[in-house]
Symmetry: C2
Subunit: 383 residues, 2 copies
């Protein structure tokens, strides 16, 4: 249930994830991809030389890393670093410093793949980013080869280990950072795991209340996807000897004020796309959120503004076997009650709030412009 | 299949794991336990205040951490640090430096619990250290509460996340280390995951050859349990500004020469205990290694020294439903062919090799004595 915002059709082109993205994202994404590939190729060659079976685990990880992804976290991380660097340095960024922030971006991508691989086991998802998930592919491998044991247990075991390996590579790429930066990195990893635990735990217990959904979204979208990448990037440019504690905390707080409403807008956009998006871009069947009874602001608003007839339609939300027609009927009510329009207005409002907070950041013009473009993209994307 | 060397009977006393251990292990273990509990209590209280459901994940981790373990890796780490520190410092260890090496010891324990929790999913083990494993306990919780979904998937999902959380806490405790030390920490985590992958992969493919078993044991026992903890501890005392690269590499190599034969002796002792140990101490049914067809030096020696009648008995190794009597018959052949005696002689030989390498380390007398006691304990333990 970690949101990847990535298309999953089998014939998809991984580059499709980044169509419509601003160049401030795609430029960074290209550098991050290079870094990821360098680590993966090096590790694969190294372990293949010890035993060809060892590199299989690295190659499975590579398959998932290279099959798509927007590299959004890497871009937020980069531009906050770029802005914060301007606060303490006179000259332009040197190449060694710039390599380190790309390392952090690559670390985010390994961490994301680790989370997705483990998550796909929990959800028993068959495809991810248009590829067969690791646990499914390796379960099939056991069957195809007539190996011993249970396909499910073996496939999931491989996926657990490949995910764990991704977690180590993520961490390895944060190697040289100073203590302030590491604190943020540790914190976001705890939040990521606990957010996912709460998500799974609440779903099992049928605790689909709105407050819980908000808490999960705060951990997994606002913090993990936007606030922490921003803070991590800024922090990298600001070791304790370059900026005093109180100034540093002020800056982290300002980045939080920018990132948190934006994270909320990201979530609301996701909720809307889950109802009316294009399946080819989204990679998941439209309407599944309704079948699962996912608590969203849209549904919550519709329920409280529905008349009796509309309410009887909405009552079918949370039914696993909703037909496409039933989904269409429910979506019509979501429009008729004004819930969809309200969601759009709320996204605009949140984007304005984020943009207002952005204006108060003391960053250079190029960084401001980049962060503004990323914000608009996040709130208004169609995939 | 990560070896914990820890008893698993339901009525066991966690303290039993450390009976017979030298005080140079138990003293460090007590300090490491305090540190582990401090992290766990702090994290549990912190997240319970946000949402009581969040701290459940921390508390499950705590249940596993506190239910046993020898803290062997922490002890090797500590004494190598103690010895290496004597090479560059004049005075006694100050308390801040000593707190950092205990942090590293605690990091090893969190990492070990992470590995055990994920491993127990792969092996579908029901108990660990005398407690119900995380995946089994949480699957039962779903059933007992009548929650939604499949018990197995939910239990395993919780265990994946609790393990991941343990991995993050492990890493968090290595926070302040310098680059040399972090390199070793990253390396041992890669080896741990790849060793486990090879173990699982080879077992599924029926590739139970002796060379593969040796490779797995090198990763998971020699390196992860002994060599890397020694090197990590020494490294902590020796940042680049305190010892030149070539001296540093020389020392790491010497520690490898001590740790590698000792790791091999640890493995051979384990193999013997798996055949003739006391189940109450071991926590696993004696004979299971024979049922699984685990390739050991004992079996390999017996096969090559058996006559025709003996060979027909040994042919039953690898049969899942071996009776207790059948196990007894096989073990008798292992004695009669001299395989058990050969294993003991090999352990003695490896211990002598390790002790010889230890004598060449330039450490102070107290550190040398402690490492010697740990070595003897590892090779001659009965649990």
């Amino acid at each position: 249930m970690v949101d990847d915002g990535v298309g999953g059709g089998r014939d998809r082109d991984p580059a499709d994830d980044r169509r419509q993205a601003p160049h401030q994202l795609t430029d960074i994404a290209a550098q991050v991809d290079d870094r990821l590939l360098r680590v993966l190729n090096e590790q694969s060659a190294r372990w293949a030389a010890v035993d060809p079976r060892l590199s299989e685990a690295v190659d499975e990880l590579a398959r998932m890393v290279t099959s798509g992804g927007k590299r959004l976290r890497a871009a937020f991380c980069y531009w906050a670093w770029h802005g914060a660097r301007g606060l303490v340095a006179d000259g332009p960024a040197d190449s060694a410093a710039s390599a380190r922030v790309i390392d952090l971006g690559a670390a985010f991508e390994f961490l994301q793949v680790f989370a997705l691989i483990h998550d796909d086991i929990m959800d028993n998802s068959a495809t991810r980013r248009g590829s067969t998930t690791i646990h499914v592919a390796n379960g099939r491998r056991l069957e195809a080869n007539g190996w011993l044991g249970e396909a499910r247990r073996y496939g999931e075991g491989v996926a657990i280990l490949v995910g764990d390996l991704g977690h180590v590579y993520a961490d390895q790429l944060t190697g040289g950072v100073h203590r302030r930066t590491r604190t943020i990195w540790d914190e976001l990893r705890i939040e990521l795991n606990l957010g996912q635990y709460l998500d799974m735990r609440a779903a099992a217990a049928g605790e689909l209340d709105y407050a819980t959904a908000r808490q999960v979204a705060t951990f997994k979208t606002a913090l993990y996807t936007i606030v922490r990448p921003l803070q991590l990037g800024a922090s990298l440019a600001l070791p304790a000897e370059r900026m005093a504690d109180d100034e540093y905390r002020w800056l982290l707080d300002r980045l939080d004020r920018f990132g948190r409403p934006l994270g909320r807008a990201f979530q609301l956009r996701d909720d809307a796309l889950g109802l009316i998006g294009d399946e080819a871009h989204l990679g998941k069947p439209v309407g599944d959120d309704l079948r699962e009874g996912k608590p969203t602001e849209i549904v919550s608003y519709a329920v409280s503004h529905a008349d009796a007839a509309q309410r009887s339609v909405l009552d079918r939300i949370g039914t696993r076997d909703l037909s496409v027609d039933a989904v269409t009927d429910i979506v019509a009510v979501l429009y008729d009650t004004g819930a969809m329009a309200n969601n759009e207005a709320e996204i605009e409002h949140l984007l304005a709030e984020a943009t207002g907070a952005l204006d108060e950041l003391p960053f250079d013009a190029e960084s401001m412009k980049a962060l503004g473009s990323l914000a608009t993209y996040v709130a208004e994307r169609d995939r």
